[in-house]
Symmetry: C2
Subunit: 196 residues, 2 copies
DNA sequence: GTCTATAAGCGGATAGAC
DNA sequence: GTCTATCCGCTTATAGAC
């Protein structure tokens, strides 16, 4: 394994354990069993490492999303559920990032810019899925503003469900993740054609 | 103004501007125009200050909630809307706390314990409001799990709407806060008796 | 690419005078 | 209650040898 990747792996692990603020570049170097100087050969600073982690997340996330919609066509309830669970497992893997999402995005200009792109794309995908649902008569026709609010509601739940569980002192496991899915279904359900 | 309160005020302001990690006790002391030593006379450390801020939030929040439900009986749509907007304005005032909610709650045992109480109480209030809505036939009868999921959905939106706006690069103003209200209405609307 | 050594600075925290 | 002075430890970051 390349040193650069080893650094990223150890950083993810430590950040998930203790949060980015409590983890120094020295800690990361020690965990990766390299010298502090070596770490600075590969990265300019901690921010740079965090940004590299974000890029990894972004690339892997896109490819995972692709494999879900290859298996379950967009706009079906199956694809919705599998996408949601995929996102949650993903968020868990990089959980420090979602926990500190707002400060990280706000205080790092580069990250802000890049996250904004991903964020916008994701909302467009949700909108696209809803449109497909309407076209295939899974979802009832919606006026524009209701559709916008549903996109917001669904993306909000997907982004923050993990945080919601953690601040509530709940375990993150299959049960609680599935409950997130049920919450999503409670929101979307009344807008489905065959809900009752 | 008492020194202790001056420290708390300056700390809130600085934390909101730069986040808790970037603000040292020295910065707070300088902003409050007192010596670093004096700060340590009033608080054991930074964590202690954050906890004091949480207590202030908690006390003021409870009293504000009281004045809302004194004006608008629990279970009406007016009370829901006013409560939501009140919470958002409140979250904005202590916005650093909501931005860093998960790390703060997870890494501070004392805060974890206290937040858990508030969190549980709030969910009970939402449930109480829904029950009142059902009793007064504003809300259709709900089975137990749907009710649970609605409580989760509504509290999730109330807790994280500000974060949702900020990570999306949106301004926090009357417009976007009202949009949060609309999202809530899109979620709850189909469960109302007179929605359409 | 990787190491050792180290500079420079900051943050947390305390002692002791007033 | 408030100040000044100060100590320790840690973190970031770089220089230079291998």
């Amino acid at each position: 394994m390349k040193t650069r990747d080893k650094i990223i792996d150890c950083a993810i692990h430590l950040f998930n354990e203790k949060g980015t603020a409590a983890v120094s570049t020295n800690h990361i170097a020690a965990a990766a069993k390299i010298s502090p100087g070596n770490l600075y050969y590969h990265f300019r600073n901690k921010e740079d490492i965090i940004f590299a982690i974000f890029e990894q997340m972004d690339v892997r996330g896109t490819s995972q999303y692709q494999s879900v919609i290859d298996s379950y066509p967009s706009g079906t309830m199956e694809s919705l559920e599998h996408t949601f669970l995929m996102i949650q497992k993903f968020n868990w893997r990089y959980r420090f990032f979602k926990r500190e999402l707002t400060p990280l995005v706000m205080n790092t200009p580069l990250l802000k810019e890049r996250f904004h792109i991903t964020n916008t794309q994701t909302k467009e995908m949700i909108r696209f899925a809803i449109d497909n649902g309407i076209a295939s008569e899974t979802i009832k026709p919606l006026d524009a503003s209701t559709k916008n609010h549903l996109v917001d509601a669904m993306w909000l739940v997907a982004l923050f469900w993990l945080n919601y569980l953690e601040v509530g002192g709940e375990e993150v496991d299959d049960n609680t993740l599935r409950r997130g899915n049920s919450v999503l279904h409670t929101i979307l359900g009344p807008y489905l054609t065959n809900n009752f």
